[in-house]
Amino acid sequence: MELKGIRRSYRLGKKSQIEILHGIDLVLHRGEFLALMGPSGSGKSTLLNIVGLLDRPTAGEVFINGEDTSKLGDADITRLRGHAIGFVFQEHHLLSAFTAAENVMLPMVVDHDFSSPAIIARARALLGQVGLDHVADHKSMNMSGGEQQRVAIARALAMRPALVLADEPTGNLDSEAADNVLTLMRQINRDSGTSFLIVTHNLELAKRCDRIIDVADGRLVMPTEHLEP
């Protein structure tokens, strides 16, 4: 995954325009576990959405496995996003109309039905991996914040993505739950080689990552710091 000269601006009115990202170059290696830090409003979420192919940059290119995604159409981008990237958001964002297991199954059933035994088994296994076997058939409103976030992580892993993006995944959790969630993600990273890019304000957690990327005012603060050689 490589970003080259990413710029993103928003229209504010008919004429005025505001640039949030001012040319970002970044390379993410396979299996890396990165923290993205920076003050509020510095453009972290905007960058994450661009990396996740949820948003398109105003200028610059996003390469995935050497392929330039700026040339892809909406349908191809959507498919690539579904298969290569998993998302974990700050507010869990489970679909309340579905149970925990069904939420985990959702990314897999987008082009299948819900009855496939393989998909059901995989959803169960993923819930087991995040330690939530017992809430598989619960609806999300009956679960704690930490549980919901772990279900969201299981869901993000459903398609065996190369990269999981997490925007302040521990922002709404108490420190113990936050610690558990990060431990879980590190463990998955170690076991399956999935890359993680995590936005966090928590320096303690960030220090447990391979690398911290600092963003300020839409620019990367160089050089990036290697914490664990």
Binding site: S45, N49, G52, L54, D55, D74, A75, T78, R79, R81, G82, H83, G86, F87, F89, H93, L95, S96, A97, F98, T99, E102, M105, L106, P107, V109, V110, D111, H112, D113, F114, S115, I120, R155, A158, M159
Partner: protein, 408 residues
């Protein structure tokens, strides 16, 4: 969730189920709309069928009559018309020339099932001190009764017509103080008279008919009215009742007769039916339209409420097309649910109304006609309406930018 449905269907059902109150209210709304439409349609066609069967049971679909006698204006050679007002001559009992030949010709035409010659005139029925003016129709029972089913309306006696027998309406018999088997003295204007025995009493459910009408054999009528061998009308029964007018015109053009179809005779009724039909169609269309707007409104709100869900689904690889279909399916399902419940409510209402309203004589005002086609059409149109109504909200949902949707 062990169901073999594609993602769109399951998501649609789940969203509807989760928005329980909203879903219930809109289904209630659709139900009312569908019920009104089903009720009105079935009632209208019932009333229509009732009228049709009444008309068709008591009159022929085409009547052949002798041509109008026309007074020829006096006209001098090469001069102006002397008198522009031409009086129509009084119409005597005029018979159809060569009626046997015309009857044969009619039976040879495709689409004509029965051709029954009749001779009508008026007479006086006398019994003791009582006398009544009656309409006398001479018929050949074997053909005539296949058109006007007098045997079905016989209250007492039999529909037989020997040369000394007469069938009269129940009211006429009562007025004359006569019953089955009694003899009536029937006198024609020309002075001919005959004594006829009442072989049957009929009730056509039509006051004028049971007060005045009587049937005798064609021969008896001919001798009474002094018109041996003559008939005044040939009544026709045809296979396609709605082709009556066209057929009547063709017959009149090719034969020396007037031909009156039941459609022309009942033109007023058809005007009324058509007016009612179009006002009904209008009402039904507006009911359907308001139902459609109701569905659209509910789904627009649902799209706004679900924008985070939509964003999440898009983030995990759901395509715009799938999101579109999730909401289209919701519209279709709402329409289907409303159509099923509404049809049941509509039928229930109709059955109830049917038992409630009666005609003056206690018989049903309209027959209960539960046309299968009406329900098939309803079950197709309502989901289609739902689908159409869902288009705008669904497009809106599909166009949502996932980043905006997730941020909320």
């Amino acid at each position: 969730m062990n169901r073999l449905l594609p993602f769109e269907w399951i998501a649609a059902v789940r969203f509807l189920r989760e928005g329980r109150l909203q879903t219930m209210f809109i289904i209630l709304g659709i139900t009312i709309g569908v019920a009104v439409i089903v009720f009105m349609s079935a009632l209208l066609s019932g009333l229509q069928v009732n009228f049709l069967s009444r008309v068709l049971n008591s009159s022929a679909q085409i009547q052949l009559l002798p041509p109008d006698q026309v007074a020829r204006p006096l006209r001098g050679l090469g001069r102006e018309l002397e008198d522009s007002v031409v009086q129509r001559p009084a119409q005597r009992i005029v018979s159809i020339d060569q009626w046997q030949k015309i009857q044969q010709r009619m039976l040879a035409l495709p689409g004509i099932l029965v051709a029954a010659p009749t001779l009508s005139g008026s007479a006086l029925a006398v019994r003791g001190d009582a006398s009544r003016a009656i309409g006398l129709t001479g018929v050949m029972p074997e053909s005539y009764f296949r058109i006007i089913r007098i045997p079905n309306y016989i209250v007492t006696g039999k529909a037989t017509l020997a040369s000394d027998e007469i069938i009269v309406g129940t009211q006429l018999a009562e007025d004359l103080g006569a019953t089955l088997g009694d003899k009536l003295n029937v006198q024609a204007a020309n002075g001919n008279a005959a004594v006829l025995r009442i072989s049957g009493l009929f009730d056509l459910g039509n006051k004028a008919a049971i007060e005045r009408n009587s049937y005798v054999s064609l021969r008896t009528a001919q001798s009474l009215l002094g018109r041996a061998g003559a008939v005044t009308t040939i009544e026709l029964k045809i296979s396609d009742i709605y082709a009556a007018e066209t057929l009547a015109r063709q017959i009149a053009a090719a034969n020396p007769v007037r031909a009156e179809s039941w459609i022309a005779t009942n033109a007023q009724f058809f005007t009324a039916v058509n007016a009612q039909k179009s006002s009904n169609t209008l009402i039904r269309a507006f009911v359907a339209l308001s139902v459609a707007f109701g569905i659209a409104a509910v789904l627009v709100v649902s799209v706004i409420q679900r924008s985070k869900d939509i964003g999440i689904l898009r983030a995990m690889g759901t395509t715009r097309g799938q999101i579109l279909r999730v909401f289209l399916v919701q519209g279709g399902l709402l329409g289907l649910a409303g159509a099923i419940i509404g049809s049941c409510v509509g039928i229930g209402g109709l059955v109830w109304y049917h038992s409630l309203v009666r005609q003056a004589d206690g018989s049903e005002l309209f027959p209960l006609i539960l046309d299968r086609q009406l329900f098939i059409v309803t079950l197709i149109l309502a989901p289609l309406t739902g689908l159409l109504a869902a288009t705008a909200p669904a497009v809106r949902a599909a166009r949502l930018d996932p980043v905006d949707a997730i941020r909320g």
